[in-house]
């Protein structure tokens, strides 16, 4: 294995562009906090959520960010656990991105609670049968483990131990995404969930969403800071993204095929795949079309897959498709009526037996976007004050053999 000669250095971050970015992110975070105040002051009646669709747009963003967090750690895992040294220079950024995504997601999740002021209750009272309670441990554990891992990578004396920390972090992140998927997988009553495949599906989704976010982050950061970014590392991440998109697609196919085979789930499948209106549109057009097929075409078409712009656009589409997938799973799964009396026509003043209406409200969207802004803010500030970014990701730096081959 090549000796790591990477030089890490803080970005300058003194120009107008940097402060303008920080300012805009601050405005977005403030808008999210303002939304929370508005929602808590008036109650959730001012949102699009109801007693039937109890989790709305904030949860779409929150779960997306939490899932992407564990995926963003993959670049570090690949270098530490699987010994792929090409990715080693990006391991620090991978770890801080994972932490930032998790922080952004959790911020949204907590600020949408009916009683966010009772967060201390959630931290001190546990029902250990609840997957939600397990997740509180998994999330806090993730922060501690990844911070330790990051410290070991950055502290020269600890570098020899960073591989073990990386392995632990990798196992933990698999557990974390299993926990997130199981939030839905363990819901026995709802036909849209209640499936063990939710855990591996979420893991595959996390690989794709996290890497897509990371590719955009690396490309934009290197371009704006004027540091060299070679094709070698970019194309390696492109190939990896292609595999992860395919994996997420595979589990999506298996999820729906399994449900289609079971007659009892035919209703919810017909709803999502055929006559669910916005959910059907989001599934086929945005999740599958824009979020799966189109990015694959962009990544592996020589005209676009060999350009940074093409790869970044494909990554953006994966994120858009991922948000659509979350919307379909979380909100589509609730919009489909609960089967109180299977096979019967049911009606009541509580909207039994009908597809539940839901439209995102502005405060919900602003709160969701503030989670992304918080993620970006953490990364933006961290790379200014900590030596996280390699000064160069040129092909010669990433792979000395590559340079000597060329020579």
């Amino acid at each position: 294995m090549a000796v790591d000669t990477t030089v890490y250095k803080e970005i300058e971050g003194t120009g107008g562009d940097y402060y303008s970015l920080v300012g805009w992110l601050g405005v977005m975070i403030a808008a999210g906090l303002g939304s929370t105040y508005y929602m808590e002051h008036h109650g959730h009646v001012v949102t699009g959520m109801s007693n039937a669709v109890v989790w709305g747009t904030p949860h779409v963003f929150a779960v997306f960010l939490i899932v992407a967090a564990s995926g963003a750690l993959n670049i570090a895992s690949i270098s530490s656990v699987f010994g792929k040294y090409h990715y080693k220079p990006l391991a620090r950024l991978s770890a801080i991105t994972a932490l930032a995504l998790l922080a952004g997601g959790l911020m949204v999740l907590v600020l949408d609670l009916g009683r966010p002021d009772r967060l201390i209750v959630a931290m001190t009272k546990y029902n250990f049968k609840s997957i939600f309670a397990w997740n509180i441990y998994l999330y806090t554990g993730f922060f501690v483990i990844v911070l330790t891992y990051l410290w070991m990578m950055m502290e020269r004396r600890m570098v020899p131990h960073s591989k073990k920390a990386g392995l632990f972090a990798f196992v933990w992140r698999l557990a974390l995404t299993t926990g997130t998927g199981s939030i839905f997988g363990f819901l026995v009553a709802r036909p849209g969930y209640d499936a063990a495949i939710m855990a591996p599906l979420f893991i595959a989704m996390s690989f794709a969403f996290g890497l897509a976010f990371f590719i955009i982050l690396v490309s934009v950061t290197y371009k704006s800071s004027g540091r060299p970014l070679g094709d070698l590392i970019l194309f390696k991440m492109r190939n990896l993204l292609g595999i992860f998109i395919a994996a997420a697609f595979y589990f999506t196919v298996v999820q729906h095929l399994t449900n289609l085979y079971a007659a009892e789930h035919s209703g919810v499948e017909a709803f999502i795949l055929m006559d669910g209106g916005i959910y059907t549109f989001l599934f086929w057009v945005v999740q599958i079309g824009l979020g799966t097929v189109f990015p694959m075409a962009l990544l592996f078409n020589p005209a676009t897959g060999r350009t940074c712009q093409g790869i970044v656009v494909a990554s953006l589409l994966v994120i858009v498709g991922g948000l659509a997938q979350m919307y379909v799973i979380i909100i589509g799964g609730q919009a489909f009526p609960m089967q109180l009396f299977p096979g019967m026509e049911v009606s009541s003043s509580f909207f039994d037996g009908v597809v539940h209406a839901y439209a995102p409200s502005l405060p919900e969207v602003l709160l969701g976007l503030s989670g992304i802004a918080m993620t970006l803010m953490i990364v933006t500030v961290a790379i200014k004050y900590l030596p996280l970014l390699p000064t160069s990701l040129s092909d010669a730096k990433v792979d000395p053999h590559h340079a000597s081959d060329k020579a």
Binding site: S50, L113, A122, S130, A189, L340, S348, S349, A357
Partner: protein
């Protein structure tokens, strides 16, 4: 209170935990501190902690005239204070602790109408998923929400197979002293635990009884001599989504 009397209080037997009081049943007492200033205290019920010796349940006769269910719903609103004026209503977000559900078999055209409220499951999914333990089941089978530690995550609403829980979406008015409610927390039928612990029937049952109907029967399913036990052993009863294995405490006949 003198020093002597204070010393004689056996503090080891006093459990001040709100949750245990809720779980254990309680009786209220009001102490007057000064004219117009009162301190409401709660002391352990005379009957002691709730045990699993009892299993409170209901038997609902779905063949009863449809109109009686409106009586039950109105009685619940009046007792627990969750009803709202029509002018003020937000149907999608207003809580409903009990509702009248109409069902129709599309193949045969057969119809029925029945009330649905918290089914007080023996294996309640809402209790399983609640991260803080705010959703809880008493030993006697009554499922409750401890509103002091509910954080408003709504996971219990995702998990309930019967859509029987409501989230309080806005400020509440007209609260009852025995049933504090709070914006941002989840609530549902309590089987009128405050009445049951005093030996009374739930409000919906009593309202129907007053109207001469026995369409909702309430009692101890563990007592073989109770009316409800005799009835469930006489008639074949159904429980909604029995296939889920959550063992509801609410039985139906005539669905």
């Amino acid at each position: 209170m003198t020093d002597k009397s204070m010393n004689t209080v056996d503090t080891s037997r006093v459990d001040t935990s709100r949750r245990n009081l809720l779980k254990g049943g309680a009786a209220a007492a009001i102490i007057t501190l000064a004219p117009g200033v009162t301190l409401q205290t709660v002391q352990a019920a005379v009957t002691g902690p709730v045990t699993s010796a009892k299993r409170w349940g209901m038997l609902i006769d779905a063949t009863a005239p449809e109109g009686v269910w409106d009586l039950a719903v109105d009685a619940c609103k009046a007792e627990q204070g969750w009803g709202k004026d029509k002018d003020d209503a937000n149907p999608a977000t207003d809580p409903q602790w009990i509702r009248k559900v109409s069902i129709k078999d599309p193949k045969t055209g057969a119809k029925a109408s029945l009330p649905v409220m918290c089914q007080h499951c023996a294996n309640p999914p809402c209790v399983d998923v609640c991260p803080t333990g705010a959703s809880m089941k008493r030993e006697d089978g009554i499922v409750l929400v401890d509103k002091h530690i509910c954080i408003g995550c709504r996971y219990c609403m995702m998990a309930c197979p019967y859509s029987c829980r409501s989230f309080v979406h806005e400020d509440v008015r007209g609260q009852k002293q025995h049933m504090p409610r709070g914006k941002g927390t989840v609530e549902s039928c309590t089987m009128c635990v405050h009445r049951v612990d005093k030996g009374q029937k739930p409000a919906c049952v009593e309202a129907l009884n007053k109207a001469g109907s026995n369409a909702i029967m309430f009692g101890d399913l563990n007592d073989p001599n109770s009316d409800i036990s005799r009835a469930v052993s006489k008639y074949v009863t159904q429980r909604i989504r029995a296939d889920l294995g959550v063992e509801p405490g609410v039985h139906y006949r005539g669905i």
